[in-house]
Symmetry: C2
Subunit: 243 residues, 2 copies
């Protein structure tokens, strides 16, 4: 793990790093010492590790909750090169959507292509980040919306170190069986008027989680309109389960 830059503002230190080919960011409270809970944040499709939705949550989780927070560019996203297969699937996805095919199936095919690598990368990043003195091996949470949910579900199902998750903005297509293997507390966010994810599919994914504690939060608005107060609420959820 190699750190390439470090800046601090408003009480939060942001460190860019690479782990092998994976570019990442680590946010910690300024002058953090010792072990603390860690939140991994997975960005959405066509976004990257410092997309606004990730950045805003990450800085607040670090500043207000004292958490360490890590995000990485998913395969084929952000600073990373695109592979040929990804380019082909992305082209098929766009063409299929233009032709009126089921968007959920097209999106699921894309996530499925990325999931194997994404899970292995998150596991490697988690191991590496927890070896840092100012992170340590405290409890781990995962936050991911949309593609961050689609790649997060197989990661959490495979990874016993993750103890609580905030997921959402995605439907059950091709994910229900994996979601059923998740048993940690889940907060699941639904945008009631999501133009990309049909409401019934969102409710079906919530339904599918195997967790005894799982809470659905729905708000009016489109895929991109997640209200800011859900970040406050996610902070309290992680505080309750990881602190």
């Amino acid at each position: 793990m190699r750190f390439t830059s470090q800046t601090s503002s408003d009480g939060v230190t942001e460190q860019l790093f690479t782990l092998g080919e994976i570019p990442g960011v680590l946010w910690t409270p300024e002058d953090a010492l010792g072990t603390r809970p860690l939140i991994l944040m997975g960005h959405g499709g066509r976004q990257h590790k410092q997309a606004p939705g990730v950045l805003d949550g990450a800085r607040r989780f670090a500043a207000e909750g004292g958490f360490a927070v890590a995000a990485i560019d998913a395969p084929n996203h952000g600073e990373r090169p695109e592979d040929e297969e990804f380019g082909r699937i992305a082209t098929e996805m766009r063409a299929g959507m233009a032709a009126g095919e089921d968007p959920a199936a097209l999106v699921a095919a894309m996530h499925n292509h990325l999931a194997g690598r994404a899970v292995a990368e998150w596991q490697a990043v988690l191991t590496a980040v927890q070896q840092l003195d100012h992170v340590g091996d405290g409890p781990v949470g995962y936050w991911g919306m949309s593609m961050g949910c689609g790649l997060g579900v197989p990661f959490i199902a495979a990874e016993p170190r993750v103890r609580a998750a905030v997921l959402g903005l995605l439907g059950a297509t091709a994910l229900a069986e994996t979601a059923a293997r998740i048993t940690v507390p889940v907060r699941f966010l639904v945008q009631w008027d999501d133009q990309l994810v049909p409401r019934a599919q969102s409710l079906a994914l919530y339904d599918a989680f195997g967790s005894a504690e799982k809470t659905l939060h729905a708000n009016p608005g489109n895929h991109g309109d997640l209200p800011r107060f859900e970040t406050d609420s996610a902070l309290r959820f992680f505080t309750r389960h990881l602190r």
Copy 2:
């Protein structure tokens, strides 16, 4: 308004009162002085003003949020006499349910019988309670589950003094048009496996509210299994909107 008893414990003062024929309770932080936001709490069917779900929330809203909280016995509930018409409707409701009729329609008929009186009583209690020195005319919220939601929806639609509401555990039957007139922020609670309220009817009532800010929280479990952390969440919701 006549106070009949006063006790204090764990930082909360509980005063029993009557306003005309209406028996009520007022909770305030011990030694409260001056104006503060007020939360009105409506109990469920066959419950009363000090039912556990009301009492637990009321004491926490007062102790942790500094709110004044008032609850009253709904018509035909708690310490109040039953009228003949109510007895007839209650009998019909039980017989109809035993005969497999639509429970939502039977429950709606009951709430409809009570609503006119209940709304007028809440309005009178609100006016009287706000004249007390340790309450005053601050912002007002309403909390009500099940019947407390069924009587709360027409109350909030009729009452501009109510500025935010936590409602839930009820479906849209006979309430959708009234709910559409509500425009204040709403938190709406759904029990995912509610044996009394079909899920689709709950979602339809959430859908019906006219509010720009409305958030649905769903949790696994039956009608009576509302998780305790929803009380924390309601406290923060009221704090955000009334403080």
